[in-house]
Subunit: 152 residues, 2 copies
DNA sequence: TATTGTTATACTCTATAACTATA
DNA sequence: TATAGTTATAGAGTATAACAATA
């Protein structure tokens, strides 16, 4: 079925199937769409996806070294410096010299950082709920995450 | 089950679930992983994902205008110029003045472009087959594409 | 010698404004 | 006036090399 649609006018449909029915292409499109909606949802908090992930990870693992946090997030430690500088500049995180290794920075949320993260988690939970609703429910979400895991 | 793993040593496991059990995060990771493998597979052809998509789309829709091809691929027409310049510089595509509108460029594959695309399609088919195998079969692929479509 | 954080740098991708030649 | 292609430019994200302080 489907295949080529007859050209009714000069503005005929493009034949896109062979190009766009591809896992990598669909994956990229979906990711861009989700990130776009994420940016909208977090616009009021002025928070980017990587910044949210860093805050949440520090919140769940206070005192970890910069490099540990960066590595988990898949961010090079050199690039993580600017990200954490931004969060620290907003008073959300702080660096303390790691006990036992004066080269390393242990990362913590400030009091304000904790309050901010609580708000951000609410936004994220709502956002996630919207994604799950789009997918058709928690079972569909589990299926998606399982399939995505197989591609890594 | 699962939840927090007890810290057996000083190098305790990080608590990552709350941060990484998120659709957007998993989507980004899977997309990066797939694109990385795509780049490896296409290294010998020196072809990037967007370049492959452009070639395949032009091959299936010869004579279409630059802006049409760019729009389908989600690339701004300003940025598409450099991409198509690259393909044209390699002798794979050519611009012809569109009949009926001398402002527009109609895009075509050259003979060499057609041969090259045939090779690229083989690489892509193998790559796609590998992705499908990782997912667990064609049915799992269909499920994934269906779920991804719901997120757009 | 090796590692942590940092700076500098470069390359890709993406986004916008403005120009030209046509329409 | 509006549109197709182009140029220039700026902003993210990402990658590597090299340095100082410390291990």
């Amino acid at each position: 079925m489907s295949a080529v649609q007859g050209s009714v006018t000069d503005e005929a449909m493009l034949e896109t199937g062979a190009t766009t029915d591809i896992i990598g292409y669909r994956l990229r499109r979906a990711q861009l769409s989700v990130f776009q909606r994420f940016l909208s949802a977090f616009e009021a908090l002025d928070l980017r996806p990587a910044e949210y992930s860093a805050l949440a990870l520090i919140g769940d693992n206070p005192g970890r070294k910069q490099t540990e946090i960066a590595e988990i997030l898949g961010i090079k430690r050199a690039n993580f410096v600017a990200l954490i500088n931004g969060l620290e500049g907003r008073g959300l995180t702080e660096r303390r010299t790691a006990p036992g290794d004066r080269r390393a920075n242990a990362l913590y949320l400030t009091k304000e950082g904790e309050r901010f993260l609580a708000r951000a988690r609410k936004v994220q939970d709502d956002f996630e709920a919207d994604c799950i609703a789009r997918l058709g429910g928690p079972k569909a979400r589990d299926t998606l995450l399982e399939l995505l895991g197989k591609l890594c």
